[in-house]
């Protein structure tokens, strides 16, 4: 193995790896569950000591649940809309010889756009323009391949 191949392998190790299981949903559900349990426990405690607060607490819990339900519904309606939008932007050529490069160029474009949110330097703009030009060339190449 020469130095070039060694460096190539080293670079591959640096590539981001997506987790096999996304734990955020589980954590979020657990947090919500804890919050609701604590709220119910507080209501029960206060109800035993101050019965006149029961109506207000129940109303509050209903309002909270309603709000959460509304938010969950809104998230659910947004999520399917954004997923196809992302899928649309990611172009995948049918030619397997070009599909790896298409993924790489698309990932580079997204990374550059994310970097530009932090620093809108002319250097990043130039890199993005060149990456998009390479994407256009690859599309042209894929069209030629038929």
């Amino acid at each position: 193995m020469n130095e070039f191949e060694w460096r190539q392998q080293m670079r591959r190790l640096r590539e981001p790896v997506a987790p096999r299981r996304d734990l955020w949903n589980v954590i979020e559900a657990a947090l919500e569950d804890c919050g609701e349990k604590a709220a119910r426990a507080q209501i029960r405690q206060r109800a035993s000591t101050r019965p006149w607060l029961l109506a207000a607490a129940v109303t509050g819990a209903f309002l909270l649940a309603g709000n959460l339900g509304l938010q969950v519904h809104r998230d659910a309606s947004i999520a399917p809309a954004s997923a196809p939008a992302l899928a649309d932007t990611a172009w995948r050529p049918s030619d397997p010889r070009l599909s790896g490069a298409a993924i790489e160029l698309d990932a580079a474009r997204i990374e550059l756009q994310q970097a530009m949110h932090q620093s809108n330097s002319p250097s990043l703009q130039r890199l993005l323009a060149r990456t998009e030009r390479q994407q256009a060339q690859l599309r042209h190449f894929a069209q030629e391949a038929g």
Partner: protein
């Protein structure tokens, strides 16, 4: 009886020979500065310069390929490996599947200009002098040893290795590495994730850009020369010779910036560091920017 014992072996040898492809042996007269187009999908392409006014093609034609011919006139020739039947474009995926690898071994006039298109076939060009070379490759490695005025290589994942000298070089890859130890005075190197290792100069204009590939650059700039390096997350190492005359401006948003020359300024609020330095007369211009890639500038004593 002995012959019968060896019969299966002989049969295997015969079958493998029959499947090995058709031998190629073609010749065509050519002017010393002819324009030659070569295309091949898989297999290999070797181009060697010689001092005869002739193009010679040898090798093995892959199974499923159309009979090969040298077409065109003495000043403009074409050698294109294509699949049998009407497969549309010369390198379409179906045609690639239908055709076995073709080995092309070409001899061409030393001063000819070449336009080579390959898909997965490694390409080797050796000894060209005077003409222009243009290469388009998908995954095939391109090795060019030539002394030419202009070189243009576009590669997807194939590595580019350049020896000899190209006064003007435009080398571009998506993930392939670029190795160019003797870059001419005007060069444009571009990659997304490939590694770039280049040296040479003095450069009148050198533009280098990488998204995530690392860069090692060694060389100086000419009087009034301009060197620009843009990197997002790739680390950049620049080795400048002693007696460099240039204004150096380097900056990084979150990468580690180190330099043998100039004074490093770190941002008081938030990330970011930059450096400005004047080397010698300061006539040339060196501008390097990275986003998160590390940057190291060395000057030889």
């Amino acid at each position: 009886m002995k012959t019968l014992r060896y019969a299966p072996l002989l049969l295997c040898l015969y079958v493998s020979h029959a499947l090995a492809g058709t031998p190629i042996n073609l010749q065509h007269a050519a002017t010393p500065t002819a324009n030659i187009t070569i295309s091949n999908i898989s297999g290999e392409v070797h181009v060697t310069a010689w001092d005869r006014p002739m193009v010679q093609v040898e090798g093995q034609l892959g199974d499923g390929a159309k009979p090969l011919a040298i077409t065109g006139s003495d000043g403009k020739l074409s050698i294109e490996v294509q699949p049998k039947g009407n497969g549309g474009s010369w390198f379409n995926w179906d045609g690639d599947n239908r055709m076995g690898p073709t080995m092309l071994d070409l001899h061409v006039p030393r001063g000819a200009s070449l336009d080579v298109r390959v898909v997965s076939a490694p390409l080797m060009i050796d000894g060209m002098n005077g003409g222009k070379i243009s290469v388009n490759t998908v995954s095939g490695r391109a090795r060019i040893n030539a002394n030419i005025p202009a070189l243009d290589i576009e590669s997807v994942s194939g590595n580019i290795e350049l020896a000899g000298h190209a006064a003007q070089a435009n080398l571009q890859t998506v993930s392939g590495d670029i190795l160019a130890p003797v870059l001419g005075d005007q060069a444009k190197l571009q990659t997304v994730s490939g590694h770039i290792q280049a040296s040479g100069g003095p450069w009148r204009q050198l533009t280098l850009s990488t998204v995530s590939g690392d860069v090692q650059l060694a060389g100086g700039i000419a009087t009034d020369g301009k060197l620009t390096v843009d990197s997002m997350s790739g680390s950049v190492q620049l080795q400048l010779p002693a007696h460099t005359n240039a204004m150096v401006h380097a900056s990084s948003f979150s990468g580690d910036l180190r330099s043998d020359t100039g004074k490093l300024q770190k941002s008081e609020h938030g990330p970011g560091s930059k450096l400005d330095a004047t080397l010698g007369t300061g006539k040339g211009s060196i501008n390097i920017e990275t986003f998160s890639g590390d940057l190291r500038i060395r000057t030889s004593n």
